[in-house]
Symmetry: C2
Subunit: 199 residues, 2 copies
């Protein structure tokens, strides 16, 4: 089928992917732009996962200073090359993540970074709560599991919903995966710090 140059341009703008890949995705999608976006995302995510083992020794650090200077967040983003560290999309990502951290106050970057003792003590509290609420012990495990998942969703940066996404469906991990797919290098949120006066 015939793919219009206008559709290719639209798709390029939406995904940041190269022209030939956009053309092929549009062909595969029978000209449907939304379907083509999904095709490219799936391909991108597949390649992003392949990249996730690669070493990241370069990077970019950014801060967000809330007006009044009583709340500041700092985040370090790592990538493979200095060329990508200077990429404006990576730098915009860093800026957005710093602002997100200032707003949501996560405990850690990922689930693995949370002290297992915290999780154990949370689990005990959830179990006691479930039993107090009259839940049967055989259901308590399931309830505890659900609440731990919720705890991670609230406390781990990668699990959190991105504050700037009004639909609240995009997690920080989604954003990161998209960025890796788009840029074509492994990218990692290495660490962050958030200071707030009086906290």
């Amino acid at each position: 089928m015939e793919i219009s140059a206008k559709d290719v341009m639209t798709l390029r703008k939406k995904t940041g992917v190269g022209m030939m890949d956009c053309k092929n995705a549009l062909r595969e999608a029978g000209g449907d732009i939304e379907k083509a976006v999904n095709i490219l995302r799936e391909k991108g995510i597949a390649s992003a996962q392949k990249r996730s083992g690669r070493e990241t020794k370069q990077g970019y650090i950014d801060t967000y200073i809330h007006p009044g200077s009583k709340l500041v967040a700092m985040v370090e983003i790592n990538c493979e090359t200095d060329f990508v560290a200077r990429n404006s999309e990576l730098q915009e990502f860093a800026r957005n993540i710093a602002m997100h951290i200032a707003a949501t106050n996560p405990l850690s970057v990922s689930e693995e970074d949370i002290d297992p003792e915290i999780i154990e003590s949370e689990k005990e509290i959830y179990r006691a709560q479930a039993l107090n609420e009259g839940k049967k012990p055989e259901f308590a495990d399931k309830i505890v599991e659900g609440r731990v998942k919720k705890f991670y969703k609230e406390s781990c940066l990668l699990n959190q919903n991105y504050i700037k996404d009004e639909s609240s469906k995009t997690t920080i991990q989604d954003l990161l995966t998209d960025l890796i797919a788009k840029i074509g290098e492994n990218i990692v949120i290495r660490r962050f710090a958030r200071y707030e006066i009086g906290a």
Copy 2:
């Protein structure tokens, strides 16, 4: 004796202290400006020490981003009132301390914040070094003590010499004490973080 208005002005500019205090200090110093500076500093330090117990719930956070964004430091300064948190001298202090931290990479704010285990392991190394160098065991303690002091001087922000002071005689604690004396409120360097790509 007669104190000239010009000398009072010079002293005020040097110390930031009020006119009457400057006049009195000049009288006490027999008109010698340098002596008067010392008198005011001693008085200021005395009053700064009196203030050091007061609660600091307000504050100001600043960052220093080294060109290239691969080295960033963040510091939180606490004080007693929001009025002082908005004081330009306090904010300049915060900026300078952030830059200093970026340059010197301290381990902690003060000696008390260093993990005692680190000090114990440093002491063992120093003792072994001293004995290896052929020092007598009875002198080793003295040598270890000297090297621990040097370790603190290199590792603790408050003990470090301020990088912008070319004479290398002013420590960060001196700067802080002067600021407290000048502003008249307890001020504390609460915490800092320093991120460097690849470190």
